[in-house]
């Protein structure tokens, strides 16, 4: 059971490099911050909690779209790792 789950977990990794990780972190923080403020403004001026919720969800899903896939631009700065000695 746990082996299967571990296997699934390993397949779902889609890694990105360290520079990419820092970029996505910044994107998430920035986009959600801006999105929250926009949602508050839209919601307040239309006087509708529903609009606020839609706005906020839009920001959230945009974020997911921007950071979830391992786009190749997040993988341009892969460091050089050690090459294992043959016969090891």
């Amino acid at each position: 059971m746990s082996e299967i789950l571990q296997d699934i977990q390993r397949k779902l990794v889609f890694p990105i490099d360290f520079v990419g990780q820092r970029t996505t972190h910044k994107i998430v923080n920035g986009a959600l911050f801006v999105g929250s403020i926009a949602a508050c403004l839209v919601g307040f001026f239309t006087q509708s909690v529903g609009n606020l919720l839609y706005c906020f969800l839009a920001a959230y899903f945009t974020c997911l779209l921007a950071v979830l896939p391992s786009y190749s631009k997040y993988n341009k700065n892969r460091p050089e790792w050690v090459h294992p000695k043959i016969g090891n």
Partner: protein, 168 residues
């Protein structure tokens, strides 16, 4: 060797390196001192025991019957958690290894920040000499996620030579 890790996960890198330290230093002739680790484990497990007792009392007693005990246990839990936090922050201070080689003792503190691969080390001996250095994790890991212990050993050997040079 054990399971491969994902080399792009900073937490995995740090944990694997932390756990490799005792092996490297024992090859260098050091005997590990477990004082800090044991203290930490004792505090940690007393927290777990307090929570366990609280959970058990919650199962066997009615809410109103167990209330007094629960108040004490929650207080104890808060106090111990505070102690644990204090210990991590002001006493352990990221010290990952303490060891003695004859008359020399050595303390290794290490951190690896999120989203980086730089393992930052502070090696201190009993005479107060300190070496601050950085080990880029890509110098000791393969892309597949295996730690090359030999490379790690050699790297530490060089660092300790630096420390010895400083002393003389």
């Amino acid at each position: 060797m054990s399971k491969p890790i994902n080399v792009y996960c900073s937490a995995d890198l740090r944990q694997t390196l932390d756990e490799a330290l005792p092996g490297v230093f024992s090859r260098l002739g050091y005997v590990q001192s477990f004082k800090l680790i044991d203290t930490k484990l004792i505090i940690g497990y007393s927290i777990a025991v307090v929570a366990g007792v609280s959970f058990y009392l919650d199962k066997i007693l009615e809410y109103s019957e167990s209330l007094t005990y629960q108040k004490i246990l929650v207080g104890l839990y808060a106090a111990l958690s505070g102690l644990f936090w204090y210990f991590n922050k002001y006493i352990e201070k990221n010290v990952k290894y303490t060891g003695i080689n004859k008359s020399k003792s050595i303390q290794v503190a290490a951190t690896l920040e999120q989203y980086t691969l730089d393992y930052k080390l502070k090696i201190r001996d009993n005479e107060g000499h300190v070496v601050e250095t950085t080990l880029p994790a890509n110098k000791v890991f393969t892309e597949q996620g295996y730690l090359q212990t030999d490379l790690l050993y050699k790297w530490f050997e060089n660092q300790l030579n630096d420390l010895t040079k400083k002393r003389n």
